[in-house]
Amino acid sequence: MDDEDIEKVLFAYLKKKGFWQTERALQDEQIKLSSGSQAGTALSRSERGPALYNDGYSKLRSWAYSSLDLYKHELLRVLYPVFIHCFMDLVANGHMQDARTFFQTFREDHELLYLRDLQKLEGILSPSHLEEMELARSLRQSKVNIKLCEYSYNLLLQYLQKTQSFTMLEVINEHINFEVTSGQPVSISDDSEVMALVGSSRDIAKHVNQKEVRWGLLEDFEERLEKTLSDSEKAEGENKDNDVDDNKQKRSAEAGKQGISSKKLKKDKVVGAIGKGVRSETSTVSFAPRVKPELTLPIMPTEVEQSILDDLRNRVQVSSTALPSVNFYTFVNTHNGLNCTSISYDGSLVAGGFSDSSLKVWDMSKAGQLVKTASMQGDSESAQNDHLLGSDDGNRSYTLFQGHSGPVYSSSFCPTGEFLLSSSSDSTIRLWSTRLNANLVCYKGHNYPVWDIQFGPFGHYFVSASHDRTARIWSMDRIQPLRIMAGHLSDVDCVQWHANCNYIATGSSDKTVRLWDVQTGECVRIFIGHRSMVLSLAMSPDGRYMASGDEDGTIMMWDLSTGRCVSPLLGHSSCVWTLAFSCEGTVLASGSADRTVKLWDVTSSNKTTKMDENKGSSGNRLRLLKAFPTKSTPVYSLQFSRRNLLFAAGALSKSC
């Protein structure tokens, strides 16, 4: 039944009964009501103007700032989403001038935490921009989740009702999801989680992060390695039964896998043998469970395997007490043109990608010899040296690879050093042979500049990241990509293979890091927490942790299985260009635009987290072990050799 029907019936009833006065009163009231509602809507429309937003927000702000200390930080968190949505509402309603003044008035409050977002939002100048800018669009489409304790939630509601600030209420209802938890307010230290107000809504991340990640090491390869090693050094490492038992318990608790303890025992012995007595907390590798490779991996030639084993035997133990040696390759006379460097696994080859589209490779082992022979034997030999170099004009110390038609942004050596990949702004990837000094393949698939490229841990497969917001997996023998990983909301800036080849991680300008399953091409983890573009990634050799470095100099350690940040590493003052784990995973090295190489102790944190996991606290900090300042060379890339020698490279830049 309609309202009108009811009215008709009502009036008919009143007429029939002869309630004249009642009927008149009702009619009067009805007229008043209708006109009143019209006036009301008119009023509200005019009121919905900028002043309402401005007043409402400033009141809410002063209320939040003067609220109880215990709940203040929770309530303050609400301000930022309200602020940006007020601003965007004002823009959407066409009040450009007022939106601007509103933004400028309250901008300062949030600059500390959200400076980069604010800089972007500042550019919104007309309603159409809201549609166009991806950040604004995603912000408006999604809701922000904010955790509040029950009492703060009630406080907020009471305030909004008491002061009748419906505009604020509307904004809050529209854009914020409150997760009300009973009990005490969340401590300030957890703010970092809430802070990342990324476009992608948290629900998705949460949902995605439910999936299982099998972060263990590869069964096959590792097993073979450890068998060979344990055979060769059976004599050593008899004792330490207690340790082994301990480890076994821990491991079985984590891995939940059966029937590997015997293998495990062997492995522990091996570690003890390698460690040459220094077998303190360095056996993290042994905790890793085993998984099967999902890709068909290339078969490793025996001589390569042999050399790897050789390296393993000669490996220097690196830990918080025994720091690695660092060999620095400085590029001089680059004339500001060096975009990227990469170092082969044994440190003998160094490649540099330049903005003049060229790629140059230096053989450092040969370079040293050449200098020596030249200086010792004089001019008579120089002709021969030129011949040896095999380049067109003799006195060049490097091999020049030309083929790209745009700045080269990234390069990567395959584990054997036989092949070299380069990616360029011309949206292609090229494969070069360092033996033949020639271009072998040109992979075309991306539509925009390819920012990063990386060979898989076993070669053959490689992954690329591009401005077109995708990461792609390729194999050397196909010119089409095997998988396309799409999902990032902005450029994919860096990629990193997982140690077991089953996953890749990508870091993006949308300030998130994602983990993708190589086989299915699905996103299995979203790591939210960075406050600026992610520039570098590294995976721990045991496959459990990942480190990511951003534009501000923050490095974050992530636990892949939980998808949580273990702890942020603060210390760099500028872009973290590169990260590398030592071979045991005990030390993390970071290179930055602030011209330092820093070493971080990773074991302590891992240990504590293992203990703390039960308690659920995550307040521990990783320790800075040492900082090595260079004279004036930003550090572009770092590479731990298999023998745990750290190679670093960078271009000497004039101090400015």
């Binding site: 601007r100 942004y409 004279k631």
Partner: protein, 546 residues
Amino acid sequence: MSIVPKETIEVIAQSIGMTNISSDVALTLAPDVEYRLREIMQEAIKCMRHSKRTVLTADDVDSALSLRNVEPLYGFATGDPLRFKRAVGHKDLFYIDDKDIDFKDVIEAPLPKTPLDTTVVSHWLAIEGVQPAIPENAPIDVISAPQENKKLEHGKDDGLPVDIRLPVKHVLSRELQLYFDKITELITNKSEPVLFKEALASLSSDSGIHPLVPYFSYFIADEVARSLSDLPLLFALMRVAQSLLRNPHIHIEPYLHQLMPSMITCIVAKRLGNRLADNHWELRDFSANLVASVCKRYGHVYHNLQSRLTKTLLHAFLDPSKALTQHYGAIRGLSALGPSVVRLLVLPNLETYLQLLEPEMLLEKQKNEMKRKEAWHVFGALMCAAGTCLYDRLKMFPRLLSLPSQSIWKHKGKIATTLPNSKRKSPPSNNHCPQQPSLKKLVDASIPITQVASNMQPTTADGFSSIASVDPAMRPSTSSGGLSNENIPGGNRRETSNSRAPKTHSVLAQAWKQDLDAGSLLASLFELFGEGIFLFIQPVEMNVFL
């Protein structure tokens, strides 16, 4: 409101030939232009990051434009960051300083040097976690670790006499050898002062030259011993020593024993330089200060360093058979070590020494012009030493100064005004008053101060009376100052000083005692030096007046 005002749009429109653009259009266009600009900048920053740079260049903007399929901007391509200049009269208006280049100049200019090709050099940033001190690495703040090691080693050596080490073969890298050769060449041929200055700067700041320290110290010792007659070379060597001592990254202590003798030689050698015109005084002063700085820095490590040094210097000072130049050096050396050394070692011998010196300075007794000049130099140095010492004393008793010094000011002013007359005639007339000429010299040197002083003359009357009442020892000074015009008080003062001689001597001998009245010290010094000594109490004086 926004970065791009509508006026800008209008101006741009006009510049491309659209004169009749309506303000509405401009108003609508402005925000969109700004948005596009921001978009381009965002992309450009991405390109910059991926080129691993922290400074945005025109190339980045070009790449960003090409990402958006926009034609790049031509004419801005440079490898360096653009240099913006501020427009005169505007606070926030900048422009690129773009100079007109004449084609003729370009064509006629010689071919530019080919830029050096990119190369890769390798070095150790760290060895097992420790940064080696090599030139490639950034200077390390303090070398603490090596010192500890050395101490440990020393301890070992003492404990185990059996542990005899084979001589270690010291390998110098080729670069260091070149560096050493270049520096020594610069020192010895002195033809390029600019380059030499650079070399000194490098020596005083480079962290990587530690391996060269023994070579340098040997070189300095050797060259000083060999070429005492070459004053510029000696000077250069002392400067090198100074730079090495200044370098915070090198560990020079073990080589001090080699450096010290050569530096002391440069202070107290009988002859430095082979020409009369050589200004060896300056070298002596320089080396004296250098040695004093060494004492200050390493005195706590080597306890006998200073005592040995002072012994050497005192020996030179007190030996009448030594040349005056040597005396001069010794005095400078001692006074550089600080006022307390002067008080302890120089003042007690001052009077006796001056008696010896006096005949040397007089025209009648010392006919050799050279010798007399030297004597005056020595006298100046002595007075300077005594004066600084006095100044130091007086600093501790500002109260004491307040009255007497007022008067001193005044008659100093008078001296300044009267001296020009007496300058000519004083040497012959003041036979027994050797102080006057030097006094004049010093006063002349401090003309600005005397000008200040002359402004204060109105207070003269008070000063006179107060001094008379407070300090009898001051009286001669006031009278002589006031009447120096006529040179009458000369004999008069001589008498006083003679009569006071025993007392003066005892005062000076006791000068090192802390509790000695600075006033009486001042008095006795005045006996010996005349008014010249008052120059040293001026700074305090100023404080009093302010």
